[in-house]
């Protein structure tokens, strides 16, 4: 008797949609696509990702090319093992038995815990397809199958020529026979599947969250303080000691109550909803908001005059003046500085390359969060997405955030967190610290402490008994001063991680 094969779950689509999923960082139904979406099965059951068992029906493959014959189809093999909590809806072979007679909605018995599908042999599952509430993180992609090498090459070539499609995390293969399914007729899904109930997902907020966590991760290079901001936001947590600006952003993403930041939330709404990169229209919307209240009109006037080149003061001086004011009133909400930076350095790359001697560690990371939110995950530079472990980690954070916010009960296992520089520079990693100090010209950001042991002084030299291991300490301010003006790109980051792991 032949051994039954393990059930595999397949998502047929086209390379344009696949590229969009990689760029936005999530596998979603049609409503979650930021840019142009091409009709495929993700449009058939709104709110759900439809997966087929072992074989993709011919209709589903044709659907992926239905908008334009020049589209190239591909099949994503989905791995369910990273889903640690959640149910799905199945369709059985004897599909009519799966529905209530009166309201033709799927019966309760159609709901299956996803874990119970994992590792099952095909013979044990009589489901033709399953529907999982969107979105899924990219870590669920096991591999992508193409029907020919030419299609795979076209996918690679086209992705290389796009500024935000990183395919480094993908395993791809060619298997023509997956694309020659038996001819099928009839609808892919029962009619009622077009109106299945589902919890709606706030996609724009989810993608903004991905942008802000990515940027806070980037700025964690500047020191312990920045790293702690990243750790908090990636754990969806607040900290009572954090500044107002963190609370403003945090509450926007995690609180459902109208709070003290209500009047400023309209600005975050604008940044959240601005998903067109290089589009400066969001500045107009912010000016409108500021103009709508006499209390903020002066900020609008200043930003408008600045934009029309009527302010003669230099930018460095403008920022210096803001910071001086905030020093006089330490608890003042730094909205003017933040808006000025958004208007003045209007892209993530520019912020990353910007250095102002008066900025604090806290200001960099908070600005990073705001800029990241404005750009969204899809607007991050490709090199940042290609930070080791970043793409899959942030994708999972976004998926967990989306499902938590929409109360679907789904949760995904987090891949390893990307290594943080400050964690890597632990006092015990002497060789690594020495290498880092030399390679990144940060020698004066460290000090060496000899243990308190007896020694003899011989000709001016201190001689200890046995092996003495000195301890290295980071000089916080000096480290910050150096690192805040150092750009760590993906190649630097890989090099640092490699050295840290001793490879």
């Amino acid at each position: 008797m032949a051994t039954p094969i393990k059930a595999i779950w397949l998502l047929p689509t086209n390379i344009e949609n696949l590229q969009m999923m990689l760029a936005q960082g999530l596998i979603t139904d049609a409503s979650g696509f930021i840019g142009s979406y091409y009709k495929d099965v993700l449009n058939e059951c709104p709110g759900y990702v439809s997966l087929f068992k072992n074989e993709v029906p011919g209709t589903a493959l044709s659907l992926a090319k239905s908008e334009d014959a020049s589209l190239i189809s591909c099949i994503i093999k989905i791995n369910l093992k990273d889903i640690i909590l959640g149910d799905c809806i199945h369709t059985r072979c004897d599909i009519e038995d799966s529905f209530n007679v009166d309201d033709v909605s799927p019966k309760v018995s159609n709901s299956v815990p996803i874990q119970s599908l994992q590792g099952k042999k095909t013979i044990e599952l009589d489901y033709e397809s399953i529907l999982i509430q969107a979105p899924l993180p990219l870590s669920c992609i096991e591999e992508v199958i193409f029907s020919s090498k030419a299609d795979l090459d076209e996918f690679k070539n086209a992705s290389e020529n796009l500024g935000n499609v990183s395919i480094k995390i993908l395993k791809c293969k060619v298997d023509k026979k997956e694309f020659t399914p038996p001819v099928s007729s009839g609808d892919l899904f029962h009619n009622s599947f077009a109106n299945l109930e589902h919890n709606s997902v706030e996609y724009t907020k989810t993608y903004s969250f991905g942008g802000l966590t990515s940027l806070s991760l980037y700025f964690s290079k500047n020191g312990e303080e920045s790293a702690s901001f990243f750790k908090s936001i990636s754990e969806f947590s607040d900290n009572e000691n954090y500044p107002l600006e963190y609370k403003w952003i945090y509450e926007y993403f995690f609180s459902n109550e109208n709070d003290k930041f209500q009047k400023w939330n309209a600005i975050l709404d604008v940044l959240n909803n601005n998903k067109k990169r290089n589009d400066i229209e969001y500045k107009n919307s912010i000016i409108e908001i500021l103009n709508s209240s006499p209390k903020t009109q002066s900020i609008a006037d200043f930003l408008t005059d600045y934009h029309r080149s009527k302010i003669e003061k230099s930018d460095t001086q403008i920022i210096e003046d803001f910071i001086d004011d905030y020093k006089k009133e330490p608890n003042k909400f730094k909205i003017q500085l933040f808006l000025f930076m958004l208007f003045y350095k209007d892209s993530v790359e520019k912020l990353i390359n910007y250095n102002h001697p008066s900025f604090s560690e806290e200001e960099y990371v908070l600005l990073g969060m705001l800029f990241g939110m404005n750009s969204s995950f899809i607007g991050l530079p490709k090199w940042l997405v290609e930070y080791e472990g970043m793409h899959l980690y942030i994708s999972t954070l976004m998926a967990n955030y989306a499902h938590q916010k929409s109360n679907t009960g789904m949760k995904f296992k987090e891949p390893s967190k990307p290594l943080l520089l400050t964690d890597m520079l632990s006092p015990k990693k002497i060789e690594f610290i020495a290498w880092f100090a030399k390679s990144f010209d940060t020698n004066d950001s460290f000090e060496t402490v000899m243990p308190n042991k007896d020694y003899q002084s011989v000709k001016g030299k201190k001689i200890y008994d046995g092996i003495i291991v000195p301890e290295y300490r980071i000089l916080k301010d000096k480290f910050f001063n150096t690192m805040s003006s150092t750009v760590i790109d993906d190649k630097h980051y890989s090099e640092i991680c490699k050295k840290f792991k001793g490879k």
Binding site: D68, K275, N284, S309, Y344
Partner: protein, 393 residues
């Protein structure tokens, strides 16, 4: 002075029309029509990148400045040339032996029988090319080369017919009829016909990606072409509405341009003027004003016959006459209206020039006019405050 951030487009920045262009068959003849900022040059460059590894393409631009800019910012060692230089060399190199008369480009003649410079007599060129093909000359060019042509409307039909007579059959032309700046040019229909395309095979790009909506709306005020679709624009008041400054002292203009360049040294500031005299004087004023700063002021004259010495991959100030700016984009543009004149009551000609000039700006657009010199061009400017703000400096 900082490196300009030039990124490949993100997948979310391309619309379905542009993506369809990228999926066009590798071989054959393709025509893409669209207004300024609709991403014509972007799709042309992405197509060149597609063929780059195989090295079987040539990217042709209309002028030297655009060729230089395209080469510097495309991110690959682009195989490119200006259409006319390449065509002259092709004609020269194909002529067998040392017969100078054959190597020399045949030119059209005026009513006095004098040769018109830079105006090839394409009928005679085609005759020669046909004979070379008939003779099966050993040094005929590889006709399977993919010719990617930017601003294809500025080249006459004869140019394309000559190449077709040599056997070239892979054309990818991007064009905008409203930006014709040469006397010898091709209309959309002529390009469609010369490529033997049906009208529905011509791809139209309609969405403006380059300019802010305020700038695009301002540029549209000068739109004269009915054959090319005007870019779609949102309708709203804007922070970045173009500003028309009437200045008392030229120094105020120079200070303002200088200040803008200092604000962000990665930005490219374009100062567009109407005449060589103005180009010269603004280049001098700005060079003096920026002495000691990390700002480069560069310029180029079509008349100087020198190679383009402008680094478009870096921020800085570039002073150019309007005839050299086609296809180039700047973050901020200052248009100096002084010396721009309506000739023979042809206000359409000036509108076309203003259209090209103003649509070069991505983020900010300023117009400058001396208070001492009234200019009739001002009458062509929009009076609606939503389209243009008037102010004095």
């Amino acid at each position: 002075m900082s490196k300009r951030i030039f990124d490949l487009p993100g997948i979310d920045e391309l619309n379905k029309d542009q993506k369809a262009v990228l999926r066009l068959k590798e071989s054959g003849q393709h025509l893409v029509i669209g207004g300024p900022g609709t991403g014509k040059s972007v799709v042309a460059l992405l197509r060149a990148r597609k063929f780059h590894q195989k090295n079987n393409y040539l990217f042709l631009t209309f002028n030297h400045v655009l060729n230089s800019s395209t080469k510097q910012i495309c991110g690959i060692d682009l195989k490119s040339d200006t259409a006319q230089s390449w065509f002259y060399s092709l004609q020269f190199n194909l002529a067998p032996g040392d017969d100078f008369d054959l190597k020399k480009m045949p030119h059209k003649v005026d009513s006095n029988g004098r040769e018109i410079q830079h105006s090839p007599d394409y009928d005679r060129v085609i005759e020669r090319f046909d004979s070379y093909v008939d003779q099966n000359l050993s040094h005929l060019p590889a006709t399977d080369t993919h010719l990617i042509i930017d601003e294809g409307q500025d080249l006459p039909v004869g140019f394309y017919e000559s190449l077709q007579s040599l056997g070239y059959e892979n054309f990818f032309i991007v064009a905008d009829q409203n930006q014709q700046i040469t006397e010898e040019n091709s209309s959309r229909q002529e390009l469609t016909d010369v490529l033997a395309l049906d009208n529905d095979e011509v791809v139209e790009l309609n969405e403006n990606y380059r300019n802010s909506s305020a700038i695009a709306k301002f540029a549209q005020h000068f739109y004269t072409d009915k054959a090319t679709p005007a870019p779609n624009l949102p309708d709203r008041a804007s922070l970045d509405t173009p500003t028309f400054y009437i200045y008392q002292m030229v120094n105020s203009c120079v200070s303002m341009i200088h200040r803008e360049s200092m604000r962000d040294t990665s930005k490219l500031i374009g100062v567009i003027v109407a005449t060589e005299t103005k180009r010269d004087s603004y280049t001098k004023f700005l060079s003096k004003a920026t002495t000691g700063d990390d700002i480069t002021v560069s310029s180029y004259s079509n008349e100087s016959k020198q190679s383009v010495n402008i680094d478009f991959s870096m921020g800085g100030i570039v002073v150019l006459c309007d005839k050299s700016v086609k296809g180039i984009e700047f973050d901020t543009v200052f248009i100096v209206l002084d010396d721009l004149k309506v000739i023979n009551n042809d206000s359409d000609a000036i509108k076309k020039r203003l259209y090209v000039m103003s649509s070069r700006a991505k983020e900010k657009l300023f117009l400058l006019r001396s208070a001492a010199i009234p200019n009739e061009v001002e009458e062509l400017l929009p009076t609606d405050e939503k389209l243009m703000i008037r102010d004095n400096i």
